[in-house]
């Protein structure tokens, strides 16, 4: 069972308390009704599914109930870092080369 650090509770808590909520940093357009079919397809259907570093949303379901973002390596299943919802993609990741 993974330990996940909730950036709101500022504590590592067991995976059981959390729920994955899909890829992060996919913003809903303020003018969504006016979006082209292609843009809507990208927004709603297309996900990156990388082998390696992924940015994804998690919810501390059975804790503070907040949504937050996490950077995880899909190969090692290790959480590299977590940060609050609304914060930008971290430019530098701790402990990751490049």
């Amino acid at each position: 069972m993974l330990l996940i650090r909730c950036p709101y509770c500022e504590e590592e808590r067991p995976e059981l308390e959390f729920r994955n909520a899909g890829e992060a940093h996919i913003a809903r357009s303020a003018n969504i009704a006016g979006e082209s079919d292609d843009d809507f397809e990208k927004f709603f259907f297309i996900r990156s599914n990388p082998k390696g570093v992924i940015h994804e949303r998690w919810r501390h379901m059975h804790g503070c109930a907040r949504f937050f973002n996490a950077v995880r390596d899909t190969v090692t299943d290790k959480f590299i870092m977590t940060y609050k919802a609304g914060e930008p993609k971290p430019a530098k990741l701790p402990g990751v080369a490049k």
Partner: protein, 997 residues
């Protein structure tokens, strides 16, 4: 008394009490402290099972968890029958009853043994190749036959009466393995004050010190030192010592699963003791001290009962005081078997000969064996074993060929060397590295905060092991935040040491032979099978493994993997590291389902939710149905009514007078804040800004893709406060959906969301007399149609307690939903029921609720919709705000497919024969005479007998349905085709006059 093969004065069970037991109905005596294996061996019993595929007679290979052969069935009573228990692990208790497995009719005469004679037909990949065709025969013929013939043991056929405990634990240092290395590491860590857990799978700690007579630590014999050290550790507050506890899985972030066998060794465990306890441990540091496992020699007929690992024979002698034979042969490729021969010889057992594959080895154990007068043959191989139910001889030949010599024996001890137990290290995602010199895989690159010490790390020799382990234990504690150790390192005065050995097939079982030289005993895989797999194109070790099933039995190849790999590598002509090792997977040894399930079974499997009114419904004899975790009253049968009669009566009663319905399970969310209306505008398709406080509206929630996600009536209590209802099953996900948008897409909105499902009990009172029933109990609410019209809500009091009184209807009748604080739910229900009795009201359940709403064409999300239905498809376009510029799903609704013609639309269906009730889920076709497969144009979503309409009614999703009004369609069923007419969705009171009736 406890067996003819028990040697007086030998072993550690000298003063133990007698324990009687039976094996295949035959009574035997052993002593307490025995395993089933040692007790049987003490009685001279070697034959304990039949092999999986060839049904060959099998005996004990080992004295531990790696045992592939000696699997038995243990039955405590009719419900407690455990198959595949390793006799080498099962501790003896008085009255233990064991049965052999995989034989019929008896162990000595087994019909299945014909497979052994027919073995040329059962080679590697046999199942894959033979049962390919005809295809139809697989299901009817091959599979049932194979399933009947295959499998080990018999599963219990009754519910498990035992209970299983579970514990979570955290510690600084978790030490896995309680041999010399584990104990030394635990001592070092414990002395720093760090919290330490030490676990070992055996009943007694000591590991290989159980058999190593040459070990002396701190002036004591090795095993005695271990017991003293364990007693010291047990007395420390910061240490938890777990025996009979197997670490079976190493998961992410130093999370280790262990199973503790609490009572399997006890004669009468009693009800209060759990059978097993699952430990889920999170450790800051893990020390792996899992030891090494001896390998057998791969030669012809090496599976005959009486042929076993040298260390096993030594354990039976030195720990249990049991000789495995009277005239014992030894076949080895390393030094450790000599120690076994020496111990047995000193105990008075004749050693027929030692056969050593090595040419001219030297060393103290060889000198000692020679000094004891044991015949030693270097550079020779055992090419064959004689005997069937027990080995009778070993045939020896110079390893490069030459004259044979057959030596009579009643047991053969073998050792091909030792395999480090890197299972847990590998499970932790560490990468093993091959040491070419010692021919073994040892821990290479670590992936987690753990360290391997002693034999599992490839460290040879007791002194080096204790040094390494003690230092690692201290470092692990320090890394976990503890201070430096202040104890003293155990001093090793003497120890045993060996390494090397051989991998793969021995002479006489080489590529040019067809003998049965077993690599994997449990799955009956021979050296020849592995070569054949390579020849047939399996070049990856993972393919070889699956094709031959080598290492895939319940012992997971603890003794066989390295041999199998070496034979594959040799056949491929590649070095071993290039062929690679198969993946180690949890569990290390089999784990019962019981220990994983723990208490989560029966009523504790999933929580049961009951409403405040549940006890009343129960007292009325309601029949309940499960809706998610809820128990809901389904119908209320009176005087022997069946379901149909009860539902018909309830349906008629509601429309004639009134009915009371427990709607408490309805999801309820309060949306509060200055921006509550703005938030509602974004989450629902309907307009909300202009909804007057005190009024209600039927809301539809979409997902971003434009499909209906949920629906419900929403009341606006105040400009900044909405009381939202959701479907019963949808409540949690609707709340999650709302929170998701509020927190991440619309965080600028000043809104709070609260789940209030369980705060309010909801009593629906529906029917022409509903107002008459409620009005006498209500204070402070004007109940007139002018003051409280359909789709409105008021706050006030009922029976003296606060209420949110909704005027709304899910039946098409004049109706109310009385929300009261849940604690008052039953009291208010009883007051309303008493009032209702004056008017002849009925109590109704969910079935009647379903029928009544279907009579009115009201949909149920999740029944009439399935996640691909738009508001338009459901005929609910009127609920989508046309002037709105944004709401979740607005863009999805405009997708080309969602606005295309010919979409499936919700319509009513009337069967031509009014008595026929369609089956929900039944497919609909336009032409019943077309050939199969027919073109299906829709399906039935809801279907009931309507007593109020005097006919059956149904709702269906039909392609282009609203353009088909009056058309005849067909529902082909196994018993014939049903003719239906497409109609509107409202079957009763089409004008809706009864809402105010």
């Amino acid at each position: 008394m406890s067996g003819a093969f028990r040697i007086p004065g030998a072993g550690r069970l000298k003063q133990a009490k007698t324990a009687r037991f039976s094996f295949d109905g035959q009574a035997y005596a052993g002593v307490e402290g025995d395993t089933l294996a040692s007790a049987l061996l003490a009685n001279g019993v070697h034959l304990v099972g039949r092999s999986f595929k060839y049904h060959r007679p099998r005996g004990f290979l080992s004295a531990g968890a790696e045992e592939p052969n000696a699997l038995v069935q243990i039955a405590r009573d009719d419900a407690r029958k455990t198959p595949n228990v390793r006799a080498t692990v099962q501790e003896l208790y008085d009255g233990l009853a064991a049965q052999s497995q995989n034989r019929w009719p008896s162990l000595a005469f087994d019909v299945g043994a014909v497979n052994d004679i027919a073995s040329p037909f059962f080679s590697a990949g046999f199942y894959y190749k033979t049962f390919m065709w005809p295809k139809a025969a697989w299901k009817s013929l091959y599979e049932p036959k194979i399933r009947a013939a295959a499998g080990l043991g018999v599963s219990p056929d009754r519910p498990d009466p035992d209970h299983y405990a579970a514990r979570f634990a955290h510690c600084d240092v978790l030490v896995l393995g309680g041999g010399a290395a584990g104990i030394a590491a635990a001592l070092a860590a414990a002395e720093t004050g760090a919290s330490v857990m030490l676990a070992d799978e055996q009943a007694e700690f000591g590991g290989s010190l159980r058999f190593e007579t040459g070990a002396r630590i701190d002036g004591q014999d090795g095993f005695g030192w271990a017991q003293g050290a364990i007693a010291k550790l047990k007395a420390m507050d910061n240490v938890r010592v777990l025996s009979r506890t197997t670490a079976f899985g190493y998961y992410a972030q130093n999370f280790v699963g262990l199973v503790e066998r609490v009572s399997d060794h006890l004669q009468n465990p009693g009800r209060e003791l759990a059978r097993e306890r699952l430990w889920q441990v999170r450790a800051k540091r893990v020390v792996l001290a899992t030891g090494a496992i001896e390998r057998h020699m791969v030669f012809a007929d090496n599976d005959r009962p009486g042929i076993m690992l040298a260390s096993a024979a030594r354990t039976y002698l030195n720990h249990y005081g049991v000789a495995v034979g009277k005239n014992v042969g030894v076949y080895t490729a390393n030094d450790s078997a000599y120690a076994a021969a020496i111990d047995l010889k000193k105990a008075g057992v004749n050693i027929a000969a030692i056969v050593d594959l090595r040419d001219n080895p030297t060393g103290p154990v060889i000198d000692e064996a020679r000094a004891l007068g044991i015949e030693i043959n270097f550079g020779r191989a055992v090419v064959r074993a004689g005997g069937k139910f027990r080995v009778t001889s070993m045939t020896v030949q110079p390893k490069n060929g030459g004259g044979e010599r057959t030596i009579p024996v009643d047991a053969v001890l073998m050792s091909a060397g030792w395999t480090p137990s890197v299972h847990l290290f590998s499970q932790s995602r560490g990468k093993v590295a091959f040491n070419d010199e010692t021919k073994r895989f040892v821990p290479g690159t670590y992936a987690q905060d753990c360290v391997s010490v002693g034999a599992c790390n490839g460290t040879d020799g007791l002194a080096a092991t204790v040094d390494e382990a003690y230092a690692a234990g201290a470092k692990a504690a320090k890394d976990a935040g503890a201070k430096a150790a202040k104890g003293t390192k155990p001093k090793v005065d003497a120890g045993e040491s060996w390494s090397r050995g051989m991998l793969g097939a021995a002479p006489g079982a080489g590529p040019d032979t067809t003998v049965k030289a077993f690599v994997d005993f449990q799955n009956d895989v021979t050296a020849k099978d592995i070569r054949q797999a390579v020849h047939e194109g399996m070049h990856s070790i993972e393919h070889v493994k699956r094709f031959t099933t080598n290492g895939m039995a319940t012992d997971q190849g603890k003794t066989s993997n390295m041999h199998g790999l070496a034979i594959a590598a040799e056949t491929l002509g590649k070095p071993i590291p290039q062929v690679g090792l198969t993946t180690f997977r949890a569990p290390y040894t089999p784990v019962t389902f019981g220990s994983i399930v723990g208490h989560a079974r029966g009523p504790l499997f999933d929580p049961t939710r009951r409403t405040a009114i549940h006890p009343w419904a129960e007292a009325q004899g309601a029949v309940f149905e499960d809706v998610g975790q809820w128990k809901r009253a389904w119908y209320f049968p009176k005087g022997g009514e069946d379901m149909h009669a009860a539902v018909d009566r309830e349906c008629v009663g509601v429309r004639k007078t009134a009915g009371l319905f427990d709607a408490s399970t309805l999801g309820k969310i309060e949306v509060v804040g200055p921006d509550a209306a703005k938030f509602m505008e974004l989450l629902y398709t309907n307009p909300w800004e202009k909804l007057e406080p005190g009024r209600c509206r039927y809301g539809i929630m979409l997902r971003e893709d434009g499909f209906i996600y949920d629906d419900g009536v929403v009341g606006r209590l105040a400009p900044d406060r909405f009381h939202v209802t959701t479907t019963t099953g949808g409540a949690p996900r609707v709340m999650n959906h709302m929170e998701d948008y509020l927190q991440t897409e619309f965080p600028h909105l000043n809104v709070w969301l609260s789940s209030i499902t369980e705060q309010w009990a909801v009593i629906a009172v529906q029917g022409p007399k509903s107002r008459n029933i409620i009005a006498p109990l209500v204070e402070g609410i004007d109940m007139s149609d002018e003051a409280l019209p359909h789709m409105s809500v008021r706050e006030g009091k009922i029976c003296g307690v606060p209420t949110r009184l909704f005027r709304m209807s899910f039946t098409g009748e004049r109706g109310f939903e009385v929300n009261v604080p849940a604690d008052y739910g039953q009291a208010v229900w009883e007051a309303l029921w008493a009032e209702g009795q004056k008017h002849g009201a009925v109590a109704y359940g969910t079935e009647t609720m379903h029928v009544l709403r279907a009579e009115k064409g009201y949909i149920i999300v999740g029944q009439d919709t399935d996640g691909t239905v738009t508001p338009n498809d459901a005929g609910l376009d009127w609920a989508v705000g046309k002037k709105k510029t944004d709401f979740v799903g607005i863009r999805g609704l405009a997708r080309p497919d969602l606005v295309a013609k010919g979409r499936k639309q919700l319509v009513g269906l009337k069967t031509k024969d009014t008595k026929v009730v369609l089956e929900e889920g039944a497919q609909i076709v336009a032409d019943p005479k077309q050939s199969i497969p027919m073109k299906m144009i829709g399906h039935v979503t809801s279907s009931y007998w309507s007593e109020n309409c005097g006919r059956s009614i149904a709702l269906a999703l039909v392609a282009g349905g609203r353009d088909r009004m009056g058309e005849t369609l067909y529902v082909p069923m196994p018993n014939g085709v049903i003719e239906v007419e497409v109609t509107g969705m409202v079957f009763f009171d089409e004008k809706g006059e009864r809402l105010n009736g």
